[in-house]
Symmetry: C2
Subunit: 271 residues, 2 copies
């Protein structure tokens, strides 16, 4: 309308997509969940939610007389445990989250990886340990997920995938998040928000004010060498850089308040 | 290509849509379910599946120490029972059906009425009996369901809806079927297939060869007067005629073999 000629060759900007992951600590606390779902609903633009399951499944399993089997501190998903996980993650948690999001005018649609054939996994091969019905993500259908997004639905994934041959598989929610993000990066400028208990990656685990606000591939090496990234944070960060090398735009780690515009006290990770 | 002029004004034929409902008897028997899912997968054209839950929920509830409350022979859905229903129908049954359909190359997507805001209900008002968290269908979003169908997904509904305010509600699967069918009739020539234990409406309950192959609004009155439609069949047939008056094209009642082309020994109901 200004009469100015628009430049003809303008690099087409990809639309933004946010993928938010919440863990059991938020899922299990009704008040925290309600606060989070409001923040998530208010998040502008296209988005996806991924949720873990938390201890509810263990609790219900034990009530049903199903023992949690652990080998070397790692949980084994036998057939009975998979049934409970399917009930709790895929049913109870997922459908209640969807209903609550609908009440907040977010048109959510709850999914396992079997739904819309969105995430296929391989049953983890038995080496030293037989993990049972656990899946390692093989293929994310970004086109299937995008059909839902284009129809203005907000996908809500639980931590279950399938092998394409009728078998559901228990799958790590962090991995689902990063793999879905890598897949969606073909179509969108995709950012991940990992919400967890900490406010971010801390220089000093005892000092909540020591958040490392930005990590890139250079500072990452430095933090590794200094032992600041260690233990449980190590696989998380490795997972993050895999996702970034896979095309994800940026990854944010912190508690749920990072979803508000006011808070910048969290860790942003880029290449 | 033949050079003939096609008539310009041809009434646009609506595309066909089949809505198939299966009950607990099929859901609970793995072999029957597998046979049915193959038939359903082979069904040509656009389709929707609606499944009930069966006795699995009651069984798991009792294991969890939740008593099934009945008043005047009718089940009451208290908060604990709703949780079990959400786990079993929305999780265990729905997600396993979806995974099995994927293995049969049917791109299924499992839904409650909360997902995609597809089916809204009113919590049943308390009169003589407080049924608890039971929903009476208020609104089917045929546009939301059609977005999924247009994206080549096959919706698989369990018997749960929501009130739009964050509350899931236990809802009769037959009613979901007929209400979804009425909604979809705005866009498709919609047929319902109610699969149940009987091979159809029988003239003589003791004679399996006495199937009434066609019921319309005239013969319906006749069958009512003769007492052939009575007891449990009465509300089912009333429900059918409500759906037909609501725009549904035709309704078929029989066992799952009616989904094959070879079998015509079932009851077809039209206006």
């Amino acid at each position: 309308m200004s009469g100015r000629v628009q430049p003809r060759l303008k690099i087409k900007q990809m639309e933004k997509l946010s993928i938010v992951k919440i863990g059991g600590n938020i899922i299990e606390d009704q008040a925290s969940l309600d606060v989070f779902l409001k923040l998530f609903s208010n998040l502008e633009g296209k988005k996806i939610l991924v949720h873990g399951g938390g201890k509810r499944a263990t609790h219900i399993a034990s009530k049903l007389g199903i023992e949690s089997k652990m080998i070397n501190g790692r949980r084994i998903t036998d057939a009975a445990t998979l049934e409970v996980i399917t009930m709790v993650y895929g049913g109870l948690v997922n459908k209640n989250v969807v209903a609550k999001l609908q009440a907040l005018n977010t048109n959510a649609i709850g999914l396992t990886g079997a739904d819309a054939n969105s995430i296929k996994s391989n049953k983890r091969p038995v080496k030293d340990i037989d993990f049972g019905f656990v899946g390692d993500v093989k293929e994310v259908s970004h086109t299937a997920i995008d059909k839902l997004i284009q129809a203005n639905f907000t996908p809500v994934f639980c931590a279950i995938t399938h092998d394409g041959e009728g078998q559901l598989l228990n799958t790590n929610a962090d991995t689902i998040t990063s793999q879905v993000a890598v897949g969606m990066s073909k179509l969108y400028e995709t950012s991940i928000y990992y919400c967890f208990e900490l406010i971010g990656v801390l220089r000093d685990i005892n000092d909540k004010d020591s958040v490392v606000k930005h990590i890139d591939s250079n500072t990452y090496q430095d933090l590794l060498e200094k032992g600041i990234i260690a233990d449980g944070m190590l696989p998380k960060l490795e997972n993050c850089f895999d996702a970034l090398y896979g095309g994800v735009h940026e990854i944010n780690m912190g508690n749920t308040s990072m979803l508000t515009q006011e808070n910048d006290n969290f860790t942003k990770i880029t290449l």
